[in-house]
């Protein structure tokens, strides 16, 4: 009987072109990170907070489905999606060609530029020649790693599991520079006590091949209905002001980009 129920539910899902009520049947599991403030972080009580988390909840509401947030370390994010530990990733994941080989992406839900952060007064020149031989920290498996390897092959690249560890080592003085999302660096480091005496340098850096066109929601290939529903939900929260409310809770400008 149970199996029949499942078949019926799947059939209903297929027939109704991704309308919200029909999908309410099964819970949606969403992979999130939790070590990337202000997009996601973990409170002392273990609960998850942040822009990504709020967006995930808002999208679920629009989809009319119950959501379960599943925490996952960054470098296992896509493998865990493919292993069906969850069905979608809402974790500030940039839409890139390399990732598109493994997963499908929704339209972007935000886009912010990447920048270098160095100690103020270090006078470091962040050109490829200036950073040759300098220790630069990035998070492993990010678009920033791709960017550094491509544009800055002579820098001494150090790879970390989480962005928080990159900031720790920058503050400890082990790194000459770090490269990451500018907004995340600003909120997660520069505006905190640890970020005192550090600042952006060199302006926004962008490489389309590495950085892609913004952060999107990843789903397994072939899940076109879920993808269509997510895209519709992103448009819906943009239009009805939910996005703006969430956005304004974290930032003083629209992170959606243009």
């Amino acid at each position: 009987m149970r199996r029949l129920g499942k078949v019926l539910a799947a059939a209903a899902l297929a027939v109704s072109a991704a309308t919200a009520p029909a999908m309410a049947a099964e819970e949606l599991r969403i992979g999130v990170e939790g070590a990337y403030p202000p997009f996601s972080w973990k409170e002392a009580d273990g609960s998850l907070k942040g822009f990504d988390i709020d967006i995930a909840h808002a999208l679920c509401e629009k989809l009319g489905r119950t959501c379960v947030l599943v925490e996952q370390d960054w470098d296992g994010m896509i493998p865990a999606l493919l292993a069906r530990k969850y069905d979608a990733i809402v974790a500030s994941m940039s839409i890139t060609e390399e990732r598109k080989k493994r997963v499908d992406f929704s339209a972007k839900y935000y886009n912010t530029p990447a920048m270098f952060v160095v100690a103020e007064g270090s006078g470091l020149d962040v050109s490829p020649a200036g950073l040759a031989g300098k220790a630069v920290g990035v998070q492993r498996g990010t678009t920033h790693q791709c960017f550094m390897e491509k544009i800055y092959p002579d820098a001494e690249l150090r790879l970390y599991a989480t962005q928080e560890e990159v900031f720790l080592d920058l503050a400890a003085g082990r790194l000459d520079a770090q490269f990451s999302d500018s907004l995340q660096a600003d909120e997660g480091f520069l505006k905190t006590d640890a970020g005192n005496g550090y600042g952006f340098v060199g302006g926004p850096q962008h490489d389309l091949e590495c950085h892609g066109e913004g952060a999107g929601i990843a789903v397994r290939k072939g899940e076109d209905e879920l993808l269509a529903a997510l895209n519709a939900a992103i448009s819906a929260i943009r239009e009805d002001g939910t996005y703006k409310t969430i956005n304004d809770g974290y930032f003083d400008f629209d992170v959606y980009g243009d």
Binding site: P79, G137, R140, G141, Y160, A161, D169, R174
Partner: protein, 252 residues
């Protein structure tokens, strides 16, 4: 000429590896240099820490076995501290913990503690020295008392008794247990990859994260670790065969 012949065998293998095979072995093979670097770092870290840790542990073990007052208790506390806590925690305290303190960062130690490789070596040396001290201590205490007495009867000084009778005997006995410590150290060395060192596991993690794979990197790393363990056990078998020659059944 070749271009006109359509897809070559090499292309076919590449295509099979990327699309049909459950394991993208061509991708692993293409990154052999990264894994080679990884082997280099793993072997370097384990070998250097075993040599230094072993050298430190020998006098500590003697002091423990001979129950030298106060020194014995201090060494006991050190051994307990490092055997009682996980290696990962020790490394984190040395690497992330010490770096938090301004005085540490301004001290003469910082040029050393700044480098992930040195931090890892320090943690590994302290860890393996603690374990090895206990192995050697046990072996020293297991030396038959009669041999020591005989040496004394010959008029050997305490130094000569230790270096000529006790230690050669004890180290031989410690060999099997010590080979375990080497393997544990080899396996424990994976924690180096958490502080940006590209050891064998670090190379595997980079491969996984770069191509969003689930297990290619880990599997390659596992095979390499197995290979190293095989070499260690093989080497020790030869060594035991030599050093335990007197225990071998006599050939007719």
């Amino acid at each position: 000429m070749d271009e006109t012949r359509g897809p070559s065998l090499l292309d076919a293998i590449r295509d099979f590896s990327e699309n049909a095979s459950p394991l993208d072995f061509v991708l692993i093979a293409q990154h052999w240099e990264m894994f080679l670097t990884g082997i280099g770092y793993t072997v370097l870290l384990v070998a250097v820490s075993l040599v230094i840790g072993g050298a430190i542990s020998l006098p500590l073990a003697v002091a423990r076995a001979y129950r030298i007052r106060y020194v014995n208790q201090a060494i006991w506390a050190y051994v307990y501290l490092f055997r009682g806590t996980p290696l990962l925690v020790q490394l984190y305290i040395i690497y992330y913990g010490l770096g938090q303190f301004e005085p540490v960062r301004e001290s003469f130690l910082w040029p050393v503690l700044r480098e992930p490789l040195w931090c890892t070596l320090i943690a590994f040396v302290l860890n393996t020295a603690a374990y090895t001290t206990e192995i050697f201590r046990g072996a020293i205490e297991a030396v038959p008392h009669g041999e020591v007495e005989a040496a004394r009867a010959y008029g050997m000084s305490s130094w000569h008794r230790t270096t000529r009778i006790v230690l050669p005997n004890a180290l031989r006995r410690a060999l099997p247990a010590y080979s375990n410590e080497i393997i544990f150290m080899l396996h424990g060395s994976v924690v180096a990859s958490t502080v940006t060192i590209v050891d064998i596991l670090g190379a595997g993690r980079i491969l996984n994260s770069k191509y969003y794979l689930a297990y290619e990197g880990f599997l390659a790393a596992a095979v390499l670790y197995m290979l190293l363990v095989y070499l260690v056990t093989r080497g020790f078998r030869l060594w035991e065969w030599r050093w335990h020659a007197h225990l071998r059944p006599r050939e007719a």
